[in-house]
Structure formats: C-alpha cells, structure tokens
C-alpha cells in the first residue's frame, strides 16, 4: 500500500465530496455564489492532486511534462476561484489587484501551452528517483524555463491581494471569519508558492505538492461555509419561529400579509386572505386580477394609491371593498411599503391588510346616528346646545345659529355668552357653573340677543349627560323663546293689578261713608278745638295754658287725619306691586282701624286673636289690605240681618302647617250653602243686590298671584270663615 497514493487520492476525493455537497447547495440556492466558487475550487484542488500524483508516478519524462503542463489548468481555476471567493466572502480586496492576479495567472497558463514541454521546463532531461514519505517517487531534471516566473509572480500577486483583502476586512469587522479565510489563505498560499517554487527551480529534491496546502484552504473555507450554513439554519429556525409568532399575532389581529413581486407581477397573500376572499388560490395572482376583484368604485383609487407610492416615498395605504362570490362585500384596509432596487426602480411591495368591515359598519351606524341626531337637532323648533366636561360648548344646532345669526365657530367654547344680556350675564353664568359643578339639572331665564339685535327672553333647561358606565360627558340643553309668554304674563299681571285697583276703588266707594266718618272725627275735634281756642282768646283774661293744650291736641288730630288720608291714598294708588316682607298682624290691625266706623255702624263686635311672633310673609301691603278689607266688609254684610249683640267678627292669625301664615276671618252671618262655597270666588257671583260680584274673585287672583291660597269654610255653629294663606318670606324668597 502506497501512502502517497492513499493521501493524494483521499485529498482528491475529499475535495470532490465537498465540491459535490456545495455544488448541490448552490443548485438549491442559486444566490449562494460562495458555495459555487468553493465547489469549483475544490474540484480544481482535486484535479491538482490528480496531476501531482501523475507526476510522482511518471515513468517517462514526456509523461511528467504532460502532467505538469495540465496542472496549470486547475491552478488557474484555483487562483481565479480563490480571488472570487475572497472578494465574495470577505467583501474586500482591490478589484484591480484581483484582475491583475487573474491576468497574470492567465498569462502563465497561455505561456504554459506555448512552451514545450511546459511553463516550467525548457527541457526535461531525465527523471530522478527520490524517496518521499518512505516511498520512491520521481522528480524531473532538466533546464528550468525562466518564464516560470510569470506563474510565481501570479502567486505573489495572489498573496498580496489576499493580504490586502484580509487587512481591509480585518478593519471592517468579523475578525474570526477574516482570520479563518484570509489567514488560512495567506498561510497555505505562501506554503504552496514556496514549495512549488523551490521544487520546480530544482533547489530541493521534492516533488510538487500544491494540493495539500490547497486542501488546507479548502478545509478552512469548508469550515467557514458549514459554519455559515449552520448559522443560516439557526437563523432560519429563529426566523420561522418569529414568523410563526408574527403570523399568530397577525392572525389574532386579523392581519394578512401580502407581497407583490412587481417585476414578475405576482401577488401573494397569506392563507387567511385566501380564506377571507373565499377563493382557493394556490397560485399567485396578477395585479390586474386583484383589481378586478375589487368594487368598481374602488379600483381607480387603489390604482392611484399604488402609482403614488411607487413614485413617492414608497408608502402605500388604501381602503377598498372586495367583492365576494356571494355578492357580498368586505371592507379592507391595506398598508404596504415599496422596495426599490439599486437603480431606484420599484421591484417589490410588501404589506398587510386588515378586514375593517365591522368597523366600517359601526362607522356607518355611527354616521347614520349622528346624521339622525343632526337632522333632529337642526329641525327641532328649539335652540339646542351641548357642552363638554370642561364647561365649554361643543355644539349648537341650526335653530340656535339661526336665532343668534352667528357661526358655530363664533358660538363654540364660551362664545355664546357674548349674546347674553349684560344684566343677566352674571346670574346666567353663576347658575351654569354651579349646576355644572354639582352635575345638577338647571332651568334659568335670561335674555339672549337675536340676530336682529333684539334681546329675547329664553328659558334654558340644561341636563348633565352620562355614559352607560356613569362617566360624566358634559351637558345638553335646550332654549325656548319665552318673550311672548313673559309679555303675556306681564300683561296678565298688569290686568290683574288693574282689576285689583279698580276693585279697590269700587270698594272704597262703598266704604266712603264710613271713611268720611273716620276722617270726620279728627276734623270735628280740630274744628271744635280751634273754635274753642278762639273763644278763649276773645276773653279778656285768656288762659294761655289752656290754649296751648288745645293747639297740641289740634296738631295731634291733624296728624291723625293725615294718617287716614295717607292710608286711603295708599289704597287708591295704582302703584307698582311690590312683594316685600310684611307683618301680617300689623296689616290686620290697620285694616280694622280703617274699617272701625263701618264695623260700628254695622253693630259688629270685632275680636282680633293675633298670634305673636309670626314670621313675615312676602306680599304687597296694599293688595293684602284690599283683600282683608273686602273680607271684613263681606262679613259685615253677611251679618246685616243678624240681631244686634250676636254680630261677632273674629279675626285670627297664626302659622299654617309651618309653611305659611294664615289669616282667618270668621263671621256669624247667615252663611252659604256648602255647594256654593267655591262659587263665591267666581266672577259676577253675588248675593248682594248692588254688588258687582267681583270682590272675591279679585281677592283670590291677588292671593294666588302671591303664591298663596284663599278659601271659605262653613263654621260649625253658624256663618263662614274665610282663610288666607300666604308663603313665608325666606332668605331664598325675600
């Protein structure tokens, strides 16, 4: 068994095996150019090994020369593929140097076939038997060819190229890789170059052994490539895992990936898209086909969006409807990114799409709801406003804007407040802010400027809005123009007061005799006093003290007369109705004083039972007096037929269930049938021959306007009692 044969054969076969493997790799992955170069390198190394073995076993000089001549072919291949591999694998090496190396080696190859027997020898004179690895092998003897330097120069240049490339790659990064490929290349090329040079220049008695160093290079490369492949496999696994994760997430999110190879016009999409679109498509589609599957209205916009993304920054986004076979449509939003090649030409677009049909439907429902709200709000015959949680207004309906004649932009926020009347402004904002902070409903009245500049009274009702979960959303409110109502109310109040006044005047007319008598008393006293004084003074010895006393009385009586006139004038006055805090007992006493004569004339005994410490009521003094005078006079009239001595009028005051003050006027007259007790308050109902029948109806309207109540009830024994209830004047109701 020959060691040389074994080693060289094994070298060749190992190289071929590796070449086969990487050849297959390249076949599967056409872009794996490094594997191809490696395969070529390995094959060439195997060829070198074969040639070397042939040289060592040559029996003739011609055989040796031939083998040596042909060894230059694989040597050329090795050089070129090594240069290519270094360039490709280390991404380094000066191109001109690479070309120079290849050129020099090619020159050496051409010269090899020009000279005979080969580049290395001018003439092989004989074969010399030497012992190698304990075996007899042959080496050539003859005249060396000086052109052999071209081959050796190519090796030198190769070395320089590799060193340069290694240095550059070392500086750039991945040093372990550089060390493995560059370092081994430098080392084994140096060894190979040195050994072949020495052997061929016949300086040492060795056979040519380049294949073994090249095997080292092959081994180092193989180590690196297999390492790369291992890493690639790991990356692929990781990529697969992360792809699976992304895909899971995408599926969960309803996202579909798609990819469009623009060069080949192939559009791929993940399975879900296929499932979603309802068509099983194992094959990629063309973009035109995709467009055809869209809703006709969306084709143009999608094409436009694609064209825009290709001409612009590459970003693509579009919403469109996909037509389903069943005639249904699905809304889809797609986002993608165009990839450009080195020349800036779009080559590929990748992206995701999402089914947004439900969102679109929800949007549609929302839009429809919104539109319905707008329509309702804008056609409602009221002014509608809405405010957010920050108290700023966010919406005004058409009614409002038409009313104020301002734009929505002008009214938004606090802009609306500009239209509020200056006198109502503070009150309006105070009610709004305090209610808002308390999340309370509010109702308020204020004047708002209409577009024609006129201030109109509006009734504004605001309610807080809450989300289903109870979160506060703001307020919504409506305003209605109540100017006319206010006007009517005002007119009604005026009419009521007018009627009250008229009734008062009538009443005082009826009372005039009694009032004249009341006034006559002080006048009588004054006249008599004055004339008495005159007479006293006419005496010679006038008693001046007496006269002084008389004058004092005259002054007092005059004042009393003045007081009666003042009271009368007050009753006759047609002044503004003023509801002020009023002491009920005081009013009752005044009325009894005013009617004193009348009561005496009617032979009526009056009893006043007035509760002390009554709270004041909120009322107009004159109108309450009028009501009491009316009721007392009625009581007198009711007792006209009653025998003298039984005519008792009882006036009581007191608290009414804690919510008001009650005044009761009880007579002992003939009374009224229970079924007529309510009728007495009807206008023109009267039991008197000369009565108008307005007194009690006016009284009731007065008391009602005061927020009180006037009613009649039969007494247990005889006669009736009229009750007046008036609200207490409180802090909030002054």
């Amino acid at each position: 068994m020959s060691w040389v044969t074994v080693i060289w054969s094994m070298t060749a076969s190992a190289c071929l095996t590796l070449a086969l493997i990487h050849g297959l790799v390249w076949h599967k992955q056409r872009e794996a150019w490094a594997s191809l170069l490696f395969a070529v390198l390995a094959v060439a190394t195997a060829a070198i090994a074969g040639c070397e073995l042939a040289m060592m076993r040559a029996e003739t000089t011609a055989g040796f020369g031939l083998a040596l001549r042909w060894i230059h072919v694989p040597a050329w291949v090795v050089t070129v593929s090594l240069v290519g591999f270094v360039r490709l694998y280390l991404h380094a090496g000066r191109p001109w140097l690479a070309w120079t190396v290849c050129g020099m080696r090619t020159l050496a190859l051409i010269l090899n076939f020009l000279f005979s027997p080969n580049l290395n020898y001018r003439e092989i004179s004989g074969l010399r038997h030497i012992t190698f690895l304990g075996e007899p092998v042959v080496a050539a003897e003859g005249i060396s060819n000086h052109w052999m330097l071209a081959g050796q120069a190519s090796f030198l240049l190769l070395l320089i190229f590799v060193v340069d490339a290694t240095r550059t790659a070392w500086r750039l990064g991945d040093r372990r890789r550089v060390l493995a490929v560059g370092g081994s290349a430098i080392f084994f090329v140096t060894v190979a170059a040195a050994e072949t040079t020495l052997a061929l220049w016949q300086l040492v008695p060795w056979p040519v052994i380049a294949s073994l160093p090249f095997l080292g290079i092959v081994a180092a490369m193989e180590y690196e490539l297999s390492r790369d492949m291992r890493r690639a496999a790991q990356l692929a696994r990781g990529l697969q895992a992360s792809e699976a994760r992304i895909s899971l997430a995408a599926n969960a999110a309803g996202l579909r990936h798609w990819e469009w190879d623009m060069v080949r016009d192939e559009l791929w999409a993940t399975d879900r898209t296929k499932a979603r679109t309802g068509a099983a498509r194992p094959e990629p589609r063309r973009f035109d086909h995709f467009l055809q599957s869209l809703h006709p209205d969306d084709r143009e916009p999608v094409s436009h969006a694609v064209a825009k993304s290709m001409n612009g920054d590459g970003e693509f986004e579009s919403e469109y409807r996909i037509l389903l076979p069943a005639g249904a449509t699905r809304w889809v939003v797609a986002r993608g990114q165009v990839e450009f090649n080195g020349a800036g030409k779009p080559v590929r677009m990748r992206g995701v799409s999402l089914d947004i049909t439900r969102r679109k439907e929800a949007e549609e429902v929302l839009r429809e709801t919104e539109a319905r709200f707008r329509t309702m709000a804008d056609t409602a015959p009221v002014l509608i406003w809405m405010a957010g949680t920050d108290k700023l207004c966010t919406f005004f309906n058409k009614g409002w804007l038409d009313f104020t004649g301002r734009t929505l932009e002008q009214e938004l926020g606090n802009g609306w407040a500009k239209g509020v009347h200056g006198k109502d402004f503070d009150h309006c904002l105070e009610v709004y802010f305090t209610s808002f902070d308390a999340r309370r409903e509010f109702i308020m009245e204020y004047r708002l400027r209409r577009q024609d500049g006129e201030f109109r009274w509006v009734l504004d009702t605001g309610v807080p809005r809450f989300a289903p979960d109870g979160a506060f959303l703001g307020y919504i409110g409506t305003c209605i123009d109540i100017t006319e109502r206010k006007q009517t109310e005002l007119e009604m109040a005026q009419q009521r007061n007018e009627l009250a006044h008229l009734s008062r005047v009538t009443m005082l007319g009826e009372l005039s005799g009694s009032l004249a008598h009341e006034l006559n008393q002080p006048l009588t006293a004054i006249l008599s006093n004055a004339q008495a004084a005159q007479r006293f003074l006419a005496h010679d010895n006038a008693d001046l003290d007496n006269v002084r006393e008389i004058l004092k009385d005259i002054v007092a009586e005059d004042k009393r007369a003045g007081e009666i006139i003042r009271r009368l004038r007050l009753l006759l006055k047609k002044g503004e109705v003023q509801q002020l805090p009023l002491d009920v007992n005081e009013v009752v006493q005044e009325v009894l004083k005013l009617l004193h004569s009348d009561l005496v004339n009617h032979r009526v005994e009056t009893h006043a039972e007035l509760a002390p410490d009554l709270p004041p009521v909120k009322a107009d003094r004159v109108q309450i007096q009028q009501v009491l005078v009316n009721l007392v006079m009625n009581a007198c009239d009711a007792m006209a037929g009653v025998p003298t001595g039984s005519c008792r009028l009882i006036v009581r005051t007191g608290l009414a269930d804690g919510e008001g003050v009650r005044i009761s006027i009880a007579d002992q007259g003939v009374g009224i049938a229970t079924e007529n007790l309510e009728k007495v308050f009807e206008p023109f109902f009267t039991t008197k021959a000369d009565g108008m029948g307005l007194g009690l109806s006016v009284c009731r309207s007065i008391i009602t306007a005061h927020g009180g109540r006037l009613w009649a009830a039969s007494n247990p024994d005889r006669g009736i009692t009229f009750h007046v209830k008036l609200p207490i004047a409180t802090e909030a109701n002054p």
Partner: protein
C-alpha cells in the same frame, strides 16, 4: 228750680271729639258733662238736671238712636242734639220724629252747635216751665166741686149763663155764683184767661162741646 244752672251732656265714643266739644261749650260759658258711652250716661245721669244732651249717633254698644229710645221710655224729656258723621236723611228723619231737638253733622260749626244747644236749653226750660204751669192749673182744678167743674166746662165752651142754667136745670143766678167761684178758684181775671188755662190743662172747648152734644143727645 231756675237756680240750678243748665248743663250740656255730651256722649261720644271718640275721646278727642268728646274733649274738643266739651272745650267749645265750656268756652261759651256752659256747664258740660261728658260720657264716653251711652251706658255710662244712663248710669250716671241725674234726670232732673236741666240742660240738653249732645249725642253721637254711631257708637259701639248702645248707639245714639237707641239711647234716645231708652230715654223716651224712661220719660226723660231732655232735648237731644244729634251729631253724626254721616248725616243721612232717613236717620235724621227718624230722630226728629222721635223728638230730637236738632240733627247736626260733623264737623260742626261752633255757632250752629251753640245756637242748637242754647235753643235746646231754652226748650228744656220752657218745657219744664210748661210742665210746672199745668201742674199748677190742675191743682186749682182739683179745688173745684164737681158742679163747679161742670159749669167751667160749659163756660169755656162758650155758652151763656142762661144757656148753662137751662142745660143744668137750674136758674141763671146760681150759675152766676158758680161762675164767680170758679173764676176765683182758677185765679182767672177774665173769660179769655180761663179758657187759656183750661186749654193748657188739656180741657179743650171743642171737646167739651162734643161731650156736651153727646150728653144733650142722651137727653
């Protein structure tokens, strides 16, 4: 009787009016007594005191008109001057019918009031005097015998002595004696005076004639 000074009584529920009226009457030199109510007056008034009453019509309790009625029922003849703030006619007519001395409205002028008061006092005095005269005549009449009374009645009815004698069935001379005795007892100086006295005492000539005719018819 005439030595007692006449007094003006004032009844009014209004103290100021009461006081001023009292002052006025006082300034005119009249004696005044005041009462704040009818009841007070009834309780304290002494009926025989001469004078008059100034009375307010409308008063609580017993009013003016009621007091007038009450006094009349008691036989009081005190003249009443009503004062009223109303001055309504029906009321004044009623008061006057019942014998009111006057009816004045408030405020009252001093002259009117004093004139009324003086007139009332005079009326009271006259009344008192008249009542006193009748009593005197009746006393004189009481001294006459029934026959003399008969003769008197015939004399004042205007019959001659002869006619009276015929009627009474006696002689003229007897009648002459009766007649002179009657003139003496009645303290009459003449037939005219006698007739006047009998008229005052309520024995009217006409009435006598009628009764005489009736008695003649009986014959």
């Amino acid at each position: 009787m005439s030595t007692i000074r006449p007094t003006v009584f004032i009844v009014d529920d209004e103290p100021a009016v009461l006081k001023s009226l009292a002052r006025l009457l006082h300034s005119a030199g009249l004696a005044v007594e005041t009462f704040p109510s009818s009841q007070d007056f009834l309780n304290h008034h002494i009926p025989n005191t001469p004078g008059c009453l100034v009375l307010d019509v409308s008063m609580p309790g017993l009013n003016g008109l009621e007091l007038q009625k009450t006094l009349a029922a008691k036989g009081s003849a005190v003249p009443i001057i009503f004062l009223t703030g109303h001055g309504d006619i029906p009321m004044s007519v009623q008061a006057m019918k019942r014998g009111a001395a006057d009816f004045l409205t408030k405020p009252v002028d001093d002259d009117d009031l004093l004139k009324a008061v003086r007139a009332a006092i005079e009326k009271d005095r006259a009344g008192r005097r008249a009542r006193a005269d009748v009593a005197d005549i009746e006393q004189r009449l009481a001294t006459l015998t029934p026959r003399e009374r008969e003769v008197l009645e015939h004399v004042v009815s205007g019959l001659m002595n002869k006619q009276i004698a015929a009627r009474l069935g006696t002689v003229e001379k007897t009648i002459k004696v009766h007649r002179s005795r009657v003139m003496e007892k009645m303290k009459a100086q003449s037939l005219v005076e006698l007739v006047h006295l009998t008229e005052k005492a309520g024995i009217g000539g006409k009435q006598s004639v009628i009764s005489h005719q009736q008695s003649a018819a009986r014959i």
